[in-house]
Symmetry: C2
Subunit: 456 residues, 2 copies
Amino acid sequence: MNSELKSYLASHRDEQIEQLKQFLRIPSVSVGSEHQEHIGHAVDWLIASLRQAGMDNAQALPTGGNPVVYADWLHAPGQPTVLIYGHYDVQPSDPDDAWDTPAFEPDVRDGKIYARGATDDKGQLFIHIKALEALLAVHGKLPVNVKLCIEGEEEIASRHLHAFLEREAERLQADAVVISDGPMHDRARPSVLYGLRGLCGFSVELKGPKHDLHSGLYGGGVQNPIHALVELLASMKDSDGRITIDGFYDKVNPLSPEDKTRFDELRHDEEQVRKDLGVEELFGEKGYSFLERTTARPTLEINSISGGYQGEGIKPIVPTSAAAKISCRLVDGQDPDEILALIQKHIDERKPPGVTVQVTPGVKGKPFLVSPDDPYIRASARAYAEGFGAEPVYVRGGGSIPIVEAFYRLLGAPVVMMNFGLPDENLHAPNEHFHLDNFDKGIVTVCSYLQEIARR
Amino acid sequence: MNSELKSYLASHRDEQIEQLKQFLRIPSVSVGSEHQEHIGHAVDWLIASLRQAGMDNAQALPTGGNPVVYADWLHAPGQPTVLIYGHYDVQPSDPDDAWDTPAFEPDVRDGKIYARGATDDKGQLFIHIKALEALLAVHGKLPVNVKLCIEGEEEIASRHLHAFLEREAERLQADAVVISDGPMHDRARPSVLYGLRGLCGFSVELKGPKHDLHSGLYGGGVQNPIHALVELLASMKDSDGRITIDGFYDKVNPLSPEDKTRFDELRHDEEQVRKDLGVEELFGEKGYSFLERTTARPTLEINSISGGYQGEGIKPIVPTSAAAKISCRLVDGQDPDEILALIQKHIDERKPPGVTVQVTPGVKGKPFLVSPDDPYIRASARAYAEGFGAEPVYVRGGGSIPIVEAFYRLLGAPVVMMNFGLPDENLHAPNEHFHLDNFDKGIVTVCSYLQEIARR
């Protein structure tokens, strides 16, 4: 990277962090409906920020829900076009009392910025905006054509983005899609992410007696919906962590020897993970390492469960209902609709007597796997090497960005996941944070990537 | 009953209902701590009401928690002394939106009064106060000596009453204890209740990773506390409703042929119960009728369960913890401490890997069974016959009033459960109500009982 760009970045560093803090102060939570005003605030803030960076056509494009923020710079004829994706919405901050500093009052300590959205995804998204601004400020132009597509519903399953991509396919047309919305492998090694797990979410509600019953007068006489739910959920996994839904693993592609080698080369420190999580032992499907289980094997996780009186003290009742929210992570070969059908069949065959069971489908996304040899992927490895001074490793991700698969399929362009977060930055949890040295290195990496893919 | 008493009751009926409404308007909820002011209000109101009735020494006696309201009338030398027990605290009213009229705005419709506490226990307790008032007003005296002990923590396991009874044993000394805090067998037949189930409550909390984890990054790699809890709870009961805690049934006294005959004579309409509860079928331990299962067989019921994000939408996490509150109803022969030890052993032997399990003991009460031939019990049958114009049936109750067993043991006096509620009056549920004809008949029954036990 040339020295002019370097000195520009150095002299604007404090200003960038102050701007990031402004962005993080907006509680643009998309779950629920109480933060609509802040969603609008985040949209306005982003548009102003993109204009300031020197991008053209910065605007809010309507969807069936929260708008997409779009901008572009298309003055590099003959050069490829890159579409940068990010999201401005964040997870809820609860439980608020578990945060050391308030979720929406960004605080920098020990080189990290603490706030909801710091790593997921405001901090990572802002890297791109600041990289574009730096290139435009120093060179007066970008090396390639660039479009930005920044959505506001990633944390609620991008529920309107699919239709948006279909409608706006022409406007969004690109040669590669770049997304920074996840963690690198670890602090020392940036990573090129060539796979993601899919997602199949659903909720189950069991209804029993038409209202709560006194457990003294009715206990033992009627089915308790919590018992029935517990029995049903326990039947979905064995005590070794293997999912017992008939057919669940049938279409999973087994790990190839090359896959196994790639995992082994990562030399993942499971003991360190165990310590960091504060558990006495890690746990999961037998025969696979932690990294394999969390990235290349499918899961079924109960995300929440509820039934009966949730207040202080005990209310001795047989409750009228009980419910759970569940999500499966899927891997290459599995299809969310097929998996949901298998689960529905499992539940139908085991419905306990005396209750009704309602399964409601939720979020859904196909798994994603791209060739590690695609030129746009290889270019990202070279850019990381410049930004971080270290050769990146090739890894698969355990999370799900259903729209990655959608971009891949609908725009016909390779998706490059250029992550700058770290796995232990508490995303979706209290004390979410982002390492500011990765913010700095990320800007260099993005500048370098755009230069790498320019045809010479 | 003499005509003077009858016409007194008739002419004061409206006034009695208005006073009951005043009592029901006080939201004297003992669960949690937000209603302390109303607890105090209920105490003051009761003392005034007892003084108005003509009782002596009406006062609040301190306990380690909510005070006991005491009063007496001891001017019948040579006659037995009856101790009347009731409680002025009520269950919480949630979910408030499920009530047709607000829980603390009593409403009379179709001959029933709707309000939290209408049947449990304010309405039933008030019968005694009004019976005493009527006898004192008409005759200038009571046929026997009477004491009242009205507590404010029945809905939170009477947690300070045991110590109170031990401390105040002398003041409370009596020849019989009368309690009206439950349902009669059914509308047509008053019932003499000669048994109650005991109670063994506890909570289980499972802790896993030190904070919530993103299920994409960690799902499949660590134990999910909800899965572990579900597995543990499912292991406590089989799919036929039989409890699978080793030794749980060992000390249960089997039903005698006389017991079986007594149950058969009740000709309980299970189909009607099924319809009333709105379930497709009743359910429980095989080989026993609904009535046997709910009064003479022990149970284990999960009263509440929680884990993960409880708000709107789905938060895809592996939660840091999961918890359940459970209560067992126990029958003659079982001891709550022994049962809790069996449960603790069951849990210890099955603790899933990767979580810690904490069992916290809760409410506790021994089962109670008295001879149906005790003279104070027989007298209650004659009083019911007068009050209701129908011979009572002898039944066992499924609920737990742990202090019944405590009164029996600590005061050495038979406990007469003289219930005036009905089983379908929604106690502990929305739209709790009390049939006002049973309020009227109850006053006659109590007057008659006090006259029946007077030595002639």
